[in-house]
Amino acid sequence: MTKILLVEDNEMNRDMLGRRLQRQGFSVCFAVDGPSGVRMASDETPDLILMDVALGDMDGWEATRLIKSNPRTREIPIIALTAHALASDRDTSVKVGCADFDTKPVDLPRLLGKIKSCLAA
């Protein structure tokens, strides 16, 4: 079963997206902040990571950088999720090594499309 790590600090968003992904047949594990996201990526070695950008002290970009610098987790594709569709956000997500980028609130069919293409690549 495809395992997705969802790094999201907002409890409601985490619950919502997690349950919807589970219903789509994914196995989902959760991290509530940047450091635990990095740890979980290493411990659980998911097939894909959904990374909220606006986390607390360590933001999603920083967590992504750390995940990408670890040989064990380097190959895991990461999709960044931000609240704003700013060009600068898009640029940063590419720079830190994200495979894709999507905006919140999540449009599930669109996100599923991105997840599929990331997993296929």
Binding site: N13, M16, R20, A83, A85, L86, R90, P105
Partner: protein, 596 residues
């Protein structure tokens, strides 16, 4: 009251200097009234001696001569010369009177007091003037003494004892005369301090206005920040409402519980509507704070129109309308911010759908001359002409009864217009009450049209062989500065302050280049460029935009050959014009890009 009479005598050259004008007025008052006071004495002398000698005639002539000075001033304008001559004539008249009537005991002696007083009134009291006046007095006294020294006595035309009455009159006249002058001088001083107070009041008001403006700007910024923050805070719970209702809806559909799906759909639709409103507020406040970024993407016009069609279909059809989509240039390639353009078009189409019942909404998209034109026509209720002006203001939708029947906050239109402006375009509206409206969006096809592409589309581009430059700017001082720079280098400069004037001058004179500055309102500049573009004869004429900020891409998208940032420096301007010409002659238009 008296000033018009006085000012009639004052020539324009004197009037230019307000201080000189004040002195000239004093000069005129004394010359218009003084001789009449002076002549009371000559009349009295004539009464004492009905067969007067030459002495009286000379005195009368000298006094009468003063009356000619105002006219001399009007015709010659030599104020200073005339003032000196007048002082000389005054000293002469007094000393002549003293010499012939009473010598050192003469009743005319008090008049001597008026000489320095008047002289300083006329000429001012700078050191040079004082010296001049005192030397003049001294020179005359020397003359007086020489005349006396001839015989060591004064001629006695009338016995001194008969002159006592005239002494009183003479002293009185001198006093009245000096009083008039002093009164007038007092008035001048008073009015000057009043003027000063007025200036101080104006300065204080200006300062207050500036403070108020700064305060208003602060408040506006605070409002924008507050709205941005609030919208963000509102969106989070709203997203949860939408997300969970979507989840429940999916579950309900899977479980086949039909009763719930309809209700859940309502919650979802209301939530999405609320989210649109909140997002609009957020976007508007971002736009107002100048924090909205553009993200250009390459896409075909057809894609944009399809997306708009899908997004708007339900809302337009909901009111029993037909939705017609025409897009003959489906394959036309655009390079602009897809999301923002789509947002703008969706807002306009939804607006049309909202105000139309059982009619037709037509969405028609075409491209021409680098511009994509998207017209949304409806057969709805139309807009009253007096409502057109405020249509695009935030919350500016039709008020009162209309608003409550059709719903809406008017945010959509304001947002659409601001988005189009951001992309270098605008929205035009035509409407007839109860017949329908047509909103036309026009934006450049590309946010960064390159000059090369543009010249390829105009292969026949030639510039007429002349050195005429046309400047168009609402601010005449800008045109003036450009004219000064350019005329020195042999260019002939035409200036226009409005779009229509600019276009007319361009057509009539076919200038070799056009410098387009700021016009009021902003859309007028856009209109000029469009007018030039669509004219067969003027299309080739290069336009250089003069902008306040560095936005070359926008300028190029508008079809300009280049842009210069104000204030324009001479070197820069001349180089730009020169390379424009070189470029056209030698096909080296890249040089222009480098320069401007």
């Amino acid at each position: 009251m008296i000033y018009p009479v006085l000012d009639w005598f004052i020539p324009a050259s004197v009037r230019e200097n307000s201080e000189l004008q004040q002195r000239a007025r004093m000069f005129l008052i004394s010359h218009l009234f003084g001789p009449f006071l002076g002549h009371t004495i000559t009349v009295y002398l004539y009464l004492l001696d009905p067969a007067p000698t030459y002495a009286l005639w000379v005195l009368a002539g000298s006094i009468s001569l003063f009356l000619s000075f105002p006219f001399a001033l009007k015709w010659t304008g030599w104020y200073n010369t005339l003032a000196i001559l007048s002082v000389q004539n005054l000293i002469f008249a007094i000393l002549w009177g003293c010499y012939h009537y009473g010598g050192l005991s003469s009743p005319f002696l008090p008049w001597l007091l008026t000489v320095p007083l008047l002289a300083f009134f006329y000429l001012g009291s700078a050191a040079r003037q004082r010296l001049l006046v005192l030397s003049l007095i001294a020179f005359n006294f020397v003359g007086f003494y020489i005349a006396y020294a001839q015989t060591h006595s004064f001629p006695e035309h009338i016995p001194l004892s008969h002159l006592s009455g005239i002494g009183i009159i003479s002293t009185l006249c001198a006093a009245v005369y000096v009083s008039i002058m002093a009164l007038y001088y007092g008035n001048v001083v008073a009015s000057q301090s009043e003027l000063e107070r007025e200036v101080r009041r104006h300065l204080a008001t200006a300062r207050q206005l500036q403070e108020a403006k700064a305060e208003a700007e602060r408040a506006s910024r605070a409002k924008s920040e507050f709205l941005a923050k609030m919208s963000h805070e509102l969106r989070t719970p709203l997203n949860a409402v939408i997300g969970y209702s979507e989840m429940l809806l999916e579950e309900a559909e899977e479980a086949g519980s039909g009763d719930h799906t309809a209700d859940l759909k309502r919650i979802l639709s209301a939530g999405k509507h609320l989210l649109t409103l909140v997002s609009s507020v957020l976007d508007l406040s971002k736009l107002e704070a100048g924090k909205m970024e553009l993200f250009p993407e390459r896409f075909e016009l057809g894609r944009l129109i399809d997306e708009v069609g899908t997004a708007c279909q339900n809302d337009v059809l909901a009111h029993g309308n037909r939705f017609v989509i025409e897009c003959p240039d489906r394959r036309a390639l655009l390079e602009t911010d897809l999301a923002k353009l789509r947002q703008a078009v969706i807002n306009i189409v939804n607006n049309a759908g909202k105000f139309t019942r059982g009619g037709t909404v037509t969405l028609r998209a075409t491209v021409a001359a680098g511009i994509v034109e998207i017209a949304v026509r409806d057969t709805g209720i139309g807009i009253r002409p007096d409502n057109l002006a405020g249509l695009f203001e935030n919350f500016g939708e039709a008020k009162g009864a209309t608003s409550s029947k059709y719903g809406g906050t008017g945010l959509g239109l304001a947002l659409a217009l601001k988005l189009c402006r951001l992309m270098g375009g605008g929205i035009d509206v035509e409407s007839e009450l109860n017949k329908g409206s047509c909103f036309t969006i026009r934006v450049p096809m590309s946010l960064a049209t390159t000059l090369k592409q543009r010249t390829r589309t105009d292969p026949g581009a030639t510039v007429p062989e002349n050195d005429t430059i046309l400047t168009i700017d609402s601010d005449a001082s800008v045109s003036d500065q450009l004219r000064r720079i350019l005329s020195k280098d042999g260019y002939e400069v035409l200036t226009a302050v409005t779009a229509d004037e600019g276009l007319a001058l361009a057509l009539a004179n076919r200038p070799s280049a056009i410098l387009l500055g700021a016009l009021q309102p902003e859309s007028e500049g856009w209109r000029v460029l469009q007018g030039l573009k669509s004219s067969e004869t003027l299309r080739a004429c290069p336009v250089i935009l003069l902008t306040a900020q560095h936005d070359a891409a926008k300028g190029r998208a508008f079809g300009a050959a280049g842009h210069l940032v104000k204030p324009v420096e001479r070197e820069q301007l001349l180089r730009a014009l020169k390379s424009l010409r070189a470029g056209v002659d030698g096909n080296e238009l890249d040089a222009v890009e480098g320069v401007v």
